[in-house]
Subunit: 160 residues, 2 copies
């Protein structure tokens, strides 16, 4: 069985090289732009009432997936699904970003952590009552999370 | 351009009819099971160290998408992308669920809000430092969020 995903637009960011510092969107102040194709423009109505949105996109530069990976800040291998590494069986990225403004079919946001020209797959409103989990714990990542910086992103080595 | 998504497993839940009460996963105490295909089993290693996980799955019973929809608890139409309605150009669902235990290739979780037999697309660890947004606001949904109950889920009418 194969399910067809069709891009609904494209994400433009200044991140083009694997040398670019890509932290998770939460610590990124990089501005990006999600450009929605004209046929989906009407679907953006009311979106600007939210402070944050969830972007789903295709990790178009991800390598083939492996079930065991060595994340950036860990000394040992981990199961792929316990990481956010882009090289997944279905390389779909999820970033919650801060909505700055919507100008026609262009959604300008802060918190870019994806490569330029990532195909846009979906936009969902971030609803704190649905999406926050204040009691959640960070598993094996806990130790690596104390000093978020450029070396923090677990998946830099898995795109090029 | 079409991107191919291949299911990595299937999600089993007791939710089979549109009459089932499906609230968002945060208020659901329904137990479900994500069953991963054998070739992905190794990818689950270390996942059990997290308290919550993000499931991406296919809304396999969603109807065709429309750019303007009338969400359940609102009197007026909204742009599709300002809602969590399943009938989307790419009908990909996102649920953050509470991990109860992993038994081989079976991930038992609390917070099921998806239909039985939803194709599983991806599993990501929920990392509070990445995924929570304590400063987020709820846009047009704010008014509807005061009494979450069965009527709360905005998208019941869009699956059958």
């Amino acid at each position: 069985v194969t399910l067809d995903v069709k891009p609904i637009g494209i994400i433009r960011t200044p991140l083009t090289s694997s040398m670019d510092c890509k932290v998770q969107s939460k610590w990124s102040d990089v501005v990006g732009e999600a450009q929605v194709s004209p046929e989906y423009l009407e679907g953006l109505e009311s979106l600007s009432s939210f402070s944050h949105i969830i972007l789903l996109y295709w990790f178009h530069r991800a390598k083939d997936s492996m079930m065991r990976v060595r994340p950036y800040l860990d000394e040992r291998e981990r199961g792929l699904f316990s990481t956010r590494v882009p090289s997944r069986p279905n390389p779909i990225g999820l970033s919650t970003v801060k909505l700055l403004r919507i100008d026609g079919a262009r959604i300008i946001f802060e918190g870019a952590d994806m490569f330029d020209e990532s195909p846009l797959i979906d936009i969902k409103p971030f609803v704190p009552q649905f999406d926050n989990r204040l009691d959640a714990t960070s598993g094996w990542l806990s130790k690596s999370l104390e000093n978020p910086d450029c070396t923090f992103r677990a998946d830099e080595r898995f795109e090029e």
